[in-house]
Amino acid sequence: MSYFIDRRPNARNKSAVNRQRFLKRYRAHIKRAVEESVNRRSITDMERGEKVSIPSRDISEPSFQHGPGGRRTIVSPGNKQFAEGDRLRRPSGGAGGGGSGEGQASNQGEGVDEFVFTLSREEFLDFVFDGLALPHLERKQLRVLEETRPVRAGISKEGVPARINIVRSMREAQARRIGMRAPLKRALREAQEALAAEERQDPVLRNPARIDELKSEIERLEKRIAAIPFLDTYDLRYNHLTHQPMPSNQAVMFCVMDVSGSMTQAHKDIGKRFFLLLYLFLERNYEKVELVFVRHHTVAKEVDEEEFFYSRETGGTIVSSALTLVDRIIEARYSPEQWNLYVAQASDGDNWDDDSATCLKLLDESLMAKLQYFTYVEITPHAHQALWDAYATIKTAYPERFAMEQIVQAEDIYPVFRELFRQRAES
């Protein structure tokens, strides 16, 4: 009458649809919570999920219920000192009394408690990057690129032995064998019949010359049939591969930061957050993302991440040194044909007087043509300097692929980031 079933191998996540429905329904609430948390927590924490709370009032499922008031009788266990007729002061918490008997009490509570749940990392990042898009991702992908990958493209008669298609080759061989043997077999059968007819005749009437002739003919035909090869070279068929250009799905991100004396650690932290946000974003869009860190004061240098963010330098600022270095690195290692190139630059806006013009020239003539996107964030509460003006010129020239914003304090990063990568209606 009873049987056991092991359901453990069955699909989990039967509730996945309902979970998604819930997230969708309270999208606005969750998004607000996610945005607050992004501003609040350190960017290095981005990799984990987030606890989100929504006022339970907003998501309650209403039903008809008794409200407070009126006359109620409540039976509770554990009487210690009460005697019949005792009068007690009403607890200040309202009409609740000494614990209400039924579960209704919680429903009647003031709507202050929060409904708390945890978003998974994926869900969290979906909300973080919701509504953002990489500018001009499509353009790069449509362009015919040098990188190719082999694709099967039918059958060919030439090829290397490793690609031999056995089934097709054997089929060809069989067809050829049938085709070549047929006339020979027919002639053979006729010769054999003629010989048999000859031999059935009375010995007196036999023609020995004819018999010899037939015999040698049969021998010749049998030899020819036997000589037909089982597999001939022109039976062989090979799988044909052609090379198809492949859209590049890899990106490299250049982090360029000014580390001159005027940049404090606080500036760098803000810059770091911005870079990490961009990195996470790119990571979600590309299979592979490489990072190149370029720091500069008067001279630029490619460094590792640790040194990039934490070592201290002093001195003046020449921005063009960094841009030149980036250009050279692209030349040497990251062909624009194969890589989607992104540059993110953080600076406090200082630059050597004449250098901004050089930057302008460098960007306009060389760099911008290769890049997918150039973002510049200026971390300063002060007025803009020459560099900002130079970049503004570039922005006018390449409105689609160049973006710049100003950040004053850490809280601005996320809004600025959203602004930079806002999904354009039509791009």
Binding site: M1, S2, Y3, F4, I5, R7, R8, N10, R12, N13, K14, S15, V17, N18, R19, Q20, R21, F22, R25, S60, E61, P62, S63, F64, Q65, H66, G67, P68, G69, G70, R71, R72, T73, I74, V75, S76, P77, G78, N79, K80, E84, G85, D86, R87, L88, R90, A95, G97, G98, G99, S100, G101, E102, G103, A105, Q108, F115, V116, F117, T118
Partner: protein, 518 residues
């Protein structure tokens, strides 16, 4: 009987030992005349248990965000260790589906088999409410039908439209039950076959209702009619529609809401049918858990007496059982109302005691069961009662004393609370009465019925709330009225009546002039 060798020891289990324990328990259950549906025992992981939880005990459910919310909160509580998952989940179906979590120890698995597969299962099969209100053999098929139908509607009419409709129906689902009339059994096959015919039929019915003037209903008592001065032509003398108040709001809406599309009526019907399926469970919590706990306790002890489980398992069991039936005092930080396991177990054990070793007090209080055959009496109690009547009938002075129950009156016209009764001779009956009322659904949920659909006038729908002891409706009433308005399509009014006087009126949409409340 010579003690037998334990079937297994330690805490690890495998399918073979589970099967042997199941057989041993089945044998004992037969001895105790526990009549059950066949058992389908499913071993699942804790994640699957969370899924099962989230669908409020339906093995297959239609999709709705509220189940997702349920899932998220279960998951959150479980992850943070605030809550252990229930060790078992059992579904009132034929065969009776019980879930066992793979993480459970051997003792837990045996306990759950005894508790769910023989305790709850026999209750589902035997109790009159379940026999009357649910059809265990059809429920799984019906759920599958409901899920498919809702999914089809989502495809045809959009997820959002269906979701809003379900929201509205869920808000009223406690009022989707015929409390007195026996419902017709549900069958998925017939349901699917009839569904198309019904769509057409329902629509014609509704059309008839709204397009012609209904036949003259039984004349109303004079005082209910508008005076002839206001209605000289007697236009309103056709009587009220419906002529009797209707307690099943969802049923009334399904049949009468003027603007609902056929598919919308069908969804209202689905929610109503499922509410009906859960209706007995809401009324037999104490009995159901008490019965199952009583039997797991009895069966485990028998297994031990027969030597089929060793001391180790028995000690582990007693520890677990004790925490299940513990009842924190009202002033304890762990107090969360009366524990249905504790009360139910205490009552069933007490009935057994009254039968086997009655005292003079028992003979006075329970003359007809004191000293009778305990098994007969227990089965009788299980078959024929619900929480409300079970407590009224069987709560003994001893249980009241053991639990030290007291009743307290909270009256908003009195600035202090009053102890009405305690566990003494003068208090027993009053406590029993009060506790019984506390478990009556009619006292837990406001009594609200359809009073009038103004089919000749502005098409408004009027509900009547019969107010009891001045207990008003809670704030959630406005969102519910809003949902009701979505279903009805015309203004919805609600009147609270106490002792024949209308004490409060509500309306949705709220009239322009501001909230109308007397």
């Amino acid at each position: 009987m010579t003690p037998r060798k334990p079937i297994a020891t330690g805490s690890d289990w495998n399918f073979e030992t589970l099967e042997r324990y199941e057989q041993a328990i089945a044998e004992l259950a037969r001895e105790y005349r526990l009549d059950t549906y066949p058992n389908q025992i499913e071993i699942i992981t804790s994640e699957q248990m969370m899924d099962a939880y989230a669908s409020v005990g339906m093995p297959v459910g239609y999709h709705h965000w509220s189940f997702g919310k349920q899932f998220l909160s279960v998951e959150q509580a479980y992850r943070r260790g605030q809550m252990g998952l229930a060790y078992e989940l059992v579904i009132n179906s034929d065969p009776c589906i019980a879930y066992l979590m793979e993480e459970n120890s051997l003792m837990m698995q045996v306990l759950v088999i005894a508790h769910a597969c023989y305790g709850h299962n026999s209750f589902f099969k035997g109790n009159y409410l379940f026999q009357t209100w649910t059809d265990a053999s059809a429920i799984v098929d019906y759920l599958v039908f409901a899920r498919k139908y809702v999914a089809q509607c989502e495809e045809r009419h959009g997820v959002e439209a269906v979701e809003q409709l379900l929201d509205a129906c869920h808000a009223l689902q406690n009022y989707g039950v015929d409390r007195y009339k026996r419902p017709s059994p549900i069958s998925a096959e017939a349901e699917a076959r009839r569904q198309e015919e019904r769509e057409a039929y329902l629509q014609t019915q509704v059309n008839t209702l709204w397009s012609t003037i209904p036949e003259r209903a039984a004349p109303l008592a004079d005082h209910l009619l508008p005076d002839s001065e206001n209605d000289p032509l007697g236009l309103h003398r056709h009587g009220r529609y419906p002529s009797e108040p209707q307690e099943n709001l969802l049923y009334f809406l399904e049949k009468n809401a003027p603007l609902l599309e056929p598919w919308q009526r069908e969804i209202v019907r689905i929610v109503r049918k499922l509410a009906q399926y859960f209706y007995p469970q809401r009324q037999t919590q104490v009995m159901n858990e008490g019965w199952a706990t009583f039997w797991h306790y009895t069966l485990m002890n028998r297994l031990y007496d027969d030597g089929l489980i060793d001391e180790g398992i028995m000690l582990e069991f007693l520890q677990s059982h004790t925490s299940v039936v513990s009842q924190p005092d009202y002033d304890s930080p762990y107090f969360g109302g009366i524990n249905p396991y504790a009360l139910g177990f205490a009552m069933f054990s007490d009935i057994q005691r009254i039968c086997q070793a009655p005292t003079d007090e028992d003979r006075e209080w329970f003359p007809e069961i004191a000293g009778s055959d305990w098994l007969d009496t227990l089965h009788f109690a299980m078959h024929n009662f619900k929480d409300e009547s079970f407590i009224q009938q069987f709560l003994s002075p001893k249980v009241i004393r053991d639990l030290k129950l007291f009743s307290l009156v909270d009256d908003d016209r009195d600035d202090s609370l009053q102890i009405e009764a305690i566990h003494d001779d003068r208090g027993y009956r009053r406590i029993r009465e009060a506790l019984s009322v506390q478990y009556a659904l009619s006292a837990r949920e406001p009594n609200i019925q359809v009073w009038e659909a103004d089919i000749r006038g502005d098409r408004s729908l009027t509900l009547r709330h019969v107010q009891d002891r001045r207990r008003p409706l809670g704030q959630s009433l406005f969102p519910v009225l809003r949902h009701l308005h979505q279903l009805w399509g015309f203004p919805v009014k609600l009147e609270s009546i106490e002792n024949g006087d209308t004490v409060r009126r509500y309306q949705w949409p709220i009239p322009e002039t501001g909230r109308e409340s007397a």
